[in-house]
Subunit: 103 residues, 4 copies
């Protein structure tokens, strides 16, 4: 993941895109891409949504949008110095206390 | 990252949340959390948005929303068998061709 | 609707909020509020989602988020001089041709 | 607005789309369209965002996405029996108390 973050930073630098990559713009782009992922599912029943990878075209769309979401998330974390894996680990620990397991 | 994905899966299983975790619902939750991240920035100028980690309270909010976005993305990828890092690597390669570096 | 648009404009002016109401910020706020509306439904089955107004607390939440979405949409249209009703009418006309009725 | 709501309902009925129009799906579609509106602005500076209607192509895109957002909002309100204008009026009244005007 660190390697991908570096490649994304180099990719943006080589295109002089850093000027656009404010935290605010990257947060907006992340939310736009997350919506494009949701768009694939918006009219599907829960059952149809579970079978979405069986169709090669939808499978490719899903992978493509996942890539966009994760790319913007990594770039957002890079510009703000946030460690996303540490953030998830900390959240899981807090949630262990907030939501005790079912008996 | 694989370790976190496993912990998230165990966490959901222990609370019997699997029934809610259809790909459609996880995509909706991911997009809702991405919007909560954007909410932190919505009224800020570009300059203010760059300084958001200087305030401990905003910094914590940012880390918390990053954790939520990545958690739902990992759970979404888990239920559909998508490898998010491979998806980003493939996308970077496609984009190298689509967007040649500035001269 | 014109009356509400005027009241919203006066409300913002009286609080000196105009400086925050760039089209970009209002579009971000609109999308954040639309996600808050979606949040109410994210874990519900299609059937449960149809019954959401039966519970007074959810009904109130739904109405509150509808109000937020429409308020930001009206303010966005106001600052850019867009007539939202004319835009919908034009779109319906285009769609009549794009999607012929089922036989 | 009531007239548009009726036309949208007839349009959907003539295409047998009612089966897809659960409140949950319409809330998802509304949030997807609000993100498409935001997408137009995501890399713009606040100043550029204020000038977006000067370019006929962006102006058309903005009007088109406004139409989509309002169409799904009206359809959502129709299936749940929510009066969107009454909801905004009630919200403005609550907000008059919550946020007193600047002195």
């Amino acid at each position: 993941m660190r390697g991908l973050q570096r490649r994304l930073a180099e990719f943006a630098a080589a295109r002089d895109w850093g000027q656009y990559h404010t935290p605010k713009n990257l947060a907006a782009a992340l939310s736009v891409e997350a919506s494009e992922l949701l768009e694939i599912f918006q009219w599907l029943t829960p059952e149809q949504s579970a079978g979405v990878m069986a169709d090669p075209e939808s499978a490719h769309r899903v992978e493509d949008e996942v890539a966009d979401v994760l790319s913007y998330l990594l770039q957002f974390c890079e510009v703000l110095g946030v460690d996303p894996l540490a953030a998830v680990a900390a959240k899981i620990e807090r949630n262990e206390t907030r939501f005790p397991p079912a008996p």
